[in-house]
Symmetry: C2
């Protein structure tokens, strides 16, 4: 997995440089807002979504500059979702990626605004003039909005909040996760295909791969919430059990959840066979999710 690790580090480095450019500190007291945006965006996390965009983009011959623009917008949306999910009214988390969450470091109002500004900034970035035709940029914006909004990530988060009060069945938990985690991963993998005018079979294979790793990501997350190491994860664990929340693990049991994750790994691999050796890195990424410790 050395290649994967190097590529993840490269993605993080490229992303941070891009964030730095897109979020320059302004003059005046309102710079506090951009400080809060940068605090959560720069240097945090594995940049896994950016890595996916860059890797699929490279596989399909997309210009690196265009892929990085897509990755920047996507990771802005991802960061926005983490900041808002951590708020006291939501998951009420105080630690994220090994440091205080945004509303602890700044304050609640600033954290809300920083999230708002990040999601808005994502659409600013995607609409900018670049190598991509305006028609393609509009398609990407539309796709990102669908994956992030009421029918995608935000809809999933709503179900997640409802799941804290009501018991959700397996169908609902699957829908929750398909929306909450899966939607942005789907964007990560399919947006470079849209941007490089890929054919339908290419898109279908990538979509299948995205859906498998999305669900796998969440199942392993649920398993890690029980078995993981808080230091490695950089956040508080065991919260699901504490809150008697329905998860894949609580509904399927630990063993069946593990089997399901492995089954999804197999399906992801099958989907990638379409691309042959060119998809080796994506294959490694799938194994990485399956075996991850954080």
């Amino acid at each position: 997995m050395k290649q994967l690790k190097d590529k993840l580090i490269e993605a993080r480095t490229l992303l941070d440089a891009s964030f730095d450019k897109k979020m320059t500190l302004p003059e005046g007291k309102e710079k506090r807002l951009v400080e809060a945006m940068r605090y959560s965006a720069i240097g945090g996390g594995k940049a896994f979504r950016a890595f996916l965009v860059l890797t699929v983009g490279e596989m399909l011959g997309l210009k690196k500059e265009s892929a990085l623009q897509i990755a920047t917008a996507l990771e802005m949306v991802h960061t926005f979702s983490l900041i808002h999910d951590d708020l006291p009214a939501m998951d009420n988390d105080t630690m994220r990626r090994g440091k205080p969450t945004n509303h602890i470091q700044f304050d609640e109002a600033t954290a809300i605004l920083a999230g708002d500004s990040l999601v808005i900034n994502a659409f600013e970035v995607l609409s900018e003039e670049n190598n991509l035709a305006p028609e393609i940029r509009c398609q990407l914006i539309h796709f990102l909005a669908q994956m992030a909004g009421k029918e995608g990530m935000c809809g999933g988060q709503m179900l997640d909040l409802i799941g804290e009060k009501e018991t959700l069945n397996l169908e609902e938990i699957t829908r929750l996760q398909t929306k909450k985690t899966g939607a942005l991963l789907r964007f990560a993998v399919l947006a470079p295909a849209i941007a490089s005018h890929a054919d339908e079979s290419t898109k279908e294979a990538l979509e299948k791969y995205a859906d498998c790793i999305g669900l796998m990501f969440q199942i392993t997350d649920d398993i890690l919430d029980i078995e993981g190491d808080e230091k490695l994860m950089g956040k508080t664990l065991g919260k699901d059990k504490l809150e008697t929340k329905s998860t894949f693990v609580s509904l399927m049991g630990l063993e069946e959840a593990r089997q399901k994750a492995h089954q999804l790994g197999k399906e992801a691999k099958e989907a990638l066979s379409f691309f042959g050796e060119k998809a080796d890195l994506l294959l490694e990424a799938s194994d990485f999710i399956l075996e991850r410790k954080n």
Copy 2:
């Protein structure tokens, strides 16, 4: 002002029909999110921003369908800002437009998510295929993101929050309001000009008009916070004084603030002279802001 009143009602009606189409209730428990979005979006307020888009669009010969699309996106952003501004961590308001604020009617987490989903939905709407060329749609998305985000409305709200703890000077208060209220009004007036390929002189005249009514809007808001009728305003008044916040009135005094508002009204009129009689409705709108009771 009969014509203006009719036009405001027409804008509200068109906007509500458009909101209804863009925010259909989904199946499943997550429909609560769309219920919350619709609660704050539909039927609330004067739809003044939509009116501006439709009126400028009509003046410049823009197709009504395109103008309505722009108006829908803009009012989604406006509604998002109201929901988040009302949150306990922000202005902590319990009443808005004569009914309980979103987080009172639903809950805080749902209100945060409803705001998030509305701002994302705005970009989905603007990116949709329609009569406008993709290049123009990208320009509109970029413009809306700039006016709404860290350099626009959100930046203004950050300054507003800082102003609750620190004294702001007149320059800062002006910048605050130019961003917080002015930016979206600027979009309302200029977006139809971009969409109809208006020339630079047209854009300049409209920009001048937008900036005058934006500042005027805020000054009259500050005056109404002291002198207004809570029933007519549909929200709690006197909060600025209670919180000893810097406002135009506290910095300039009531009389000078009133004079400044009238001066801005005069300048708005001058800017509109460029369009002759075609701009009569926009002139009425400017008078309406100056004389408004809510």
